[in-house]
């Protein structure tokens, strides 16, 4: 075959591909419109049935029937939307009822699918209507290789409050980034009764990945966690002390105050800065002298946090700042001038 003939074959193949692309684009548009036209009425009917069911005692059969008329993935979407609007007990009753519905078997089977998007569908389904019988499948999804599947499974863990699932969730906390830890804490707050005893068992000085548990505990902000967090104030790891200093600002208690006073002289400036901020949140006048001294700290951030904390202690705190404004230490003087020059609105924002 000559080069001209080869090129001719390429050109013909390319022409065919171009034509196929045209057809594909037009077909995709047509199919999407047809699908939307088919699904939208069924979805609207489900929403009407859900509305009636949410407002009165009857209508569960109607909801189950309307869900069955939708493709499983669309039904899961609807369940996810409505799960946050319906009351707990009635929703649990609906979940139990759905456990036997044929279309939900497909979604349960998806939990072991080789395709991640099927497993994601299963996770979303469990997040909305999991029952205790689904715990083993959820355990598998929590360890899924795809991060989106793992993330979508967390609401199911919160929903079931199963200790084994919560333990598995806590086991992997040290491997998660701070953003993900924060997101999990927000979701798992709902399961606090079951979660707190398990978390307390891990807030020990010798616990591997302790900083992550302390951060998680700080984000939960549960009063029952305060003593354990206070006990960690003298821990050898800086990150743990930072998390403790941050958490204790949310607990107005004498022990928190005492621990924060100790952390305010920590060798690590990040710990000191966090302790100043928390002392400001507690707004205890006993810390006045300490905060006044911290305005002369060698680290700019510590000085800023201390000065901001002083503004929350009323006229006595402002007096300390006025004294610092006339101080011989340039750092303290500049910081006091800066903070005293801020209007109340800006001050409130910077203190937040």
């Amino acid at each position: 075959m000559t080069s001209l003939e080869t090129l001719l074959v390429v050109a013909i193949g390319q022409g065919a591909l171009l034509a196929a692309l045209f057809v594909l684009i037009v077909y995709t548009r047509w199919y999407a419109q047809r699908r939307a036209a088919r699904i939208q009425p069924a979805r609207a009917a489900l929403d009407r049935a859900m509305q009636r069911w949410a407002m009165g005692p009857a209508g569960e059969n109607e909801v189950v029937a309307a869900l069955a008329r939708l493709p499983p993935v669309v039904a899961t979407d609807a369940l996810a939307t409505w799960s946050s609007r319906a009351s707990g007990e009635r929703w649990d009753a609906l979940a139990r009822r759905l456990a036997g519905a044929p279309w939900t078997r497909t979604l349960r089977r998806y939990a072991k699918s080789r395709r991640w998007w099927h497993r994601l569908d299963a996770a979303r389904f469990f997040a909305a209507v999991a029952t205790p019988a689904d715990a083993p499948a959820i355990l598998g999804l929590l360890a899924d290789e795809h991060p989106a599947v793992r993330l979508a499974t967390v609401p199911a863990v919160a929903r079931l409050e199963d200790p084994a699932l919560l333990e598995a969730e806590l086991d992997r906390l040290p491997t998660l980034t701070p953003t993900v830890v924060g997101y999990h804490a927000g979701l798992l707050r709902r399961a606090r009764d079951a979660l707190i005893p398990l978390l307390l068992a891990r807030l020990r000085a010798d616990q591997p990945g302790l900083a992550h548990y302390a951060e998680f505990a700080a984000r939960l902000g549960e009063p029952a966690l305060r003593p354990a967090l206070t006990a960690l104030a003298g821990h050898g790891e800086v990150e743990v002390r930072i998390q403790v200093a941050r958490a204790l600002g949310g607990y107005p208690h004498g022990e928190s105050q005492a621990a924060l006073v100790a952390l305010a002289t920590d060798p690590a400036w990040q710990v000191r800065a966090q302790a100043m901020r928390s002392l400001g949140r507690l707004a205890d006048r006993a810390s006045l002298t300490l905060l006044g001294a911290a305005v002369e700290d060698p680290e700019w951030w510590v000085r800023l946090r201390a000065a901001l904390a002083l503004t929350r202690l009323g006229p006595a705190g402002l007096d300390v700042l006025f004294q610092a404004e006339r101080s011989a230490a340039a750092g303290a003087r500049d910081m006091a001038r800066l903070i005293l020059g801020l209007p109340p609105q800006a001050l409130a924002e910077f203190s937040a």
Binding site: L18, I25, W117
Partner: protein, 474 residues
């Protein structure tokens, strides 16, 4: 002579095959990426994310230079974005118009002292202002130093760990920030994230939001819709699987502030600061063996006005290419350097030999082909067929981008828009592409001559005239 021309022609064909094979690789890699991203975007529980306080706080950096006509609307729209922890810093970069006065009047500004250390040196900051009505807003008034300098001033003032650079005329979609933070929720070590930039010309805009996406009827902005789709939907998505692209659009890109501070912020002497900053970020992170990702996420969208006249468009493209040449030359040490791993062996060579040299090679190929034809040493049917294949391939790439759009986000809902997209994708390679080659060629001799300026961009602004009825579209 004929031997020389023949050898160069052969080289040209090899280059064409290699480059287009690489495009084919990107095209294939974009398929699983668009599938994954579409699924994740569809399944995201936006309501839950809005309520969560876990999403990292973001500072939006808005450099503004003579933006008096549009600044109030743009800033109001940015302040109304759906995101829990948000701060907007507008930098008035020595505007000669009434940008600062407009801001003062619209947002009841009051002066505050500076409360942060200057980590990156910038032109003198004249004053800082907070707003009595919008607590999330901070305005910096500074002496003119260019866009990069303005961004650096905003980075200095930013309080949050993530910063996003947005042009003052960019319309960011209401949920774009939540979508942009998806890689953080997926637990990735993110250094920067890029979102999609789309063409706002011809769209219906209300209260600083695109409420109906349309494909412009006019050829120049219309063909740029296809160009943007191709650049974002398959170009950058394909690079996601190869360690990330070298470009995160300056009009809409999210960065980790600590990394920007570590590399000294944006370079003020760079022609295209967004490309430069991404290359330096790659270099800095790889040199220190810090694990990172720079993903592109296709569903967060920002809309921008593109040039409608050939004169302005040619200047924009020339400037972009000048920036690319300057960056490739400056960071040539990264080319095939094992220290920079995939970026050194794949990304940089592609941008150097593929993107930067492409117009040069294409022009040389064209001239030699014409010379060969004139001298009778090139077979005419072969030459014609070869050009037909190259044009067909270009058309296929554009149509592929349209196909990806149709299979995923389908923003252009009207049948007329789809028809226009297909038309522009089909004719783009006949004339328009050759014009862009010429504009980019001019960049080669402009690269060492010109300094860096904000560049000229005649903005029509997003007024009622952009509504379909007013612009004559059905």
């Amino acid at each position: 002579v004929s031997e020389v021309i023949g050898a160069v022609e052969a080289g040209f064909i090899v280059y064409f095959l290699a480059l287009n094979s690489w495009y084919a690789v990107l095209l294939v890699l974009s398929v699983p990426e668009i599938w994954e991203n579409t699924r994740l975007a569809e399944d995201e529980d936006q309501q839950r994310l809005m309520q969560s306080d876990a999403l990292p706080p973001i500072t939006i950096l808005v450099p503004a230079h003579n933006e008096g006509a549009t600044i109030q609307g743009s800033v109001t729209a940015l302040l109304s974005l759906e995101y829990r922890h948000l701060e907007v810093i507008v930098v008035n970069d020595g505007s000669q118009d009434d940008t600062l006065d407009r801001l003062r009047e619209s947002f009841a500004l009051y002066e505050i002292p500076r409360t942060y250390p200057e980590r990156i040196a910038t032109q003198r900051v004249r004053a800082l202002y907070k707003s009595r009505t919008r607590t999330k807003l901070l305005v910096i008034d500074k002496e003119n130093g260019g866009k990069a300098d303005a961004l650096n001033a905003a980075i200095n003032a930013s309080r949050w760990p993530l910063v996003i650079a947005v042009d003052a005329d960019t319309l960011v979609e209401h949920d774009a920030l939540i979508r942009l933070t998806r890689p953080f929720l997926l637990g990735r070590q993110v250094a920067a994230v890029g979102g999609t930039v789309r063409v706002a010309n011809g769209c219906t805009v209300r209260d600083g939001r695109v409420v109906q996406a349309r494909v412009p009827r006019r050829f120049l902005p219309g063909v740029q819709v296809v160009e943007y789709l191709r650049a974002f939907l398959f170009g950058r998505l394909g690079w996601n699987r190869l360690g990330g692209s070298l470009i995160i659009s300056g009009a809409f890109g999210l960065f980790r502030r600590e990394y920007l501070l570590a590399i000294g912020g944006y370079r003020t002497d760079s022609v295209v600061e967004d490309l430069d900053v991404v290359v330096r970020l790659h270099r800095w992170l790889l040199a220190r063996r810090i694990p990172y990702a720079m993903p592109f996420v296709p569903d967060p969208v920002a809309w921008t006005e593109v040039p409608e006249s050939a004169r302005i468009l040619s200047r924009q493209r020339e400037r972009w290419h000048r920036g690319l040449i300057a960056a490739m030359w400056q960071y040539r040490g990264m080319l095939f350097n094992p220290r920079y791993r995939r970026v050194g062996f794949v990304t940089m060579p592609f941008f150097f030999f593929g993107e930067m040299l492409a117009p040069l090679v294409e022009a040389v190929g064209l001239v030699l082909t014409l010379a060969g034809l004139a001298l009778g040493i090139i077979n005419i049917p072969f030459a014609l067929l070869f050009f037909l294949v190259t044009w067909g391939y270009g058309m296929m790439l554009s149509l592929w981008a349209v196909a990806l759009e149709e299979a995923s986000f389908r923003r252009y809902g009207a049948a007329g828009d789809l028809s226009r997209l297909l038309r522009y994708a089909s004719v783009e390679n006949f004339g328009y592409r050759q014009a862009t080659v010429w504009w980019r060629l001019r960049a080669f001799w402009g690269v060492f001559r010109r300094g860096h300026t904000w560049g000229e961009m005649v903005r029509r602004g997003f007024r009622e005239s952009d509504s379909p009825a007013a612009s004559g579209t059905p």
